[in-house]
């Protein structure tokens, strides 16, 4: 199927790779169908791109890469919706917010996107766990790209916090 997007142009997506949510993320409940797009070949960041709304896409990442002790308990009500029987089938992604012109990067650990990777059913799960913030600062390892950073940003130090 062809998917029209504002950021990536027209994509050819295999029908069998479409992730369907019984209800879209909060605020976007009507947008239920998504695909995952790798951001760049060498990063773990991906885009959760809406199939029906070209401009709607979220930057997502595997939270365990940044928050080693992040462990979640998906409530029974949600595992039922996700038809999740085996925890190994759960792909957990955190929505990343990039704001203040790129100087602030946060992850929404309180409401991850959980995907049954076997059946490609997704859901934004609201955790009953007050350890996790909606806006947890995320520190990106930019070691490999120091040269690029210096070239692209006149004030790299301001963003490194």
């Amino acid at each position: 199927m062809k998917v029209v997007t504002t950021r990536f142009g027209v994509l050819e997506i295999d029908d069998s790779s479409v992730i369907r949510m019984s209800r879209g993320p909060l605020g976007f409940e009507d947008q239920t169908d998504y695909c995952l797009i790798q951001h760049r070949p060498d990063t773990s960041f991906r885009w959760l791109q809406s199939i029906d709304e070209p401009s709607l896409a979220f930057v997502v990442a595997d939270p365990s890469e940044f928050f080693a002790d992040y462990d979640i308990e998906v409530p029974d009500s949600e595992t039922g919706i996700l038809r999740l029987k085996n925890p190994d089938d759960a792909l957990v992604l955190t929505i990343v917010t990039i704001s203040d012109g790129g100087s602030r990067i946060t992850a929404n650990l309180a409401a991850p996107i959980v995907i049954n990777s076997r059946e490609l059913i997704g859901l934004q799960v609201i955790l009953q766990d007050n350890r996790y913030s909606v806006e947890q600062p995320l520190v990106v390892n930019r070691d490999r790209s120091t040269a690029d950073e210096a070239r692209q940003d006149p004030k790299p130090a301001a963003r490194a916090a």
Binding site: L26, E78, T97, S103, N108, Q128
Partner: protein
Amino acid sequence: MLVLARKVGQSIVISDNIELLVIEVRGDQVRLGIDAPKSIPVHRKELLDRIRAENVKASADVDVDAVSRALGDVSAP
């Protein structure tokens, strides 16, 4: 909106499987006990509002290159 007055120790039953019990009233704070099947999610509304606002913020129109710069991708153009 249906408005019901309840005292401490009294409860409200919604449908046949949700019970809302007033446990304690202290000043302007009310403690409620909620007895509902696990299949029914129960959340504080402020949290839902915050998540909704954060989703809207996260989906704001950032382009791919801006994200690359913010993330410091080695492959960024």
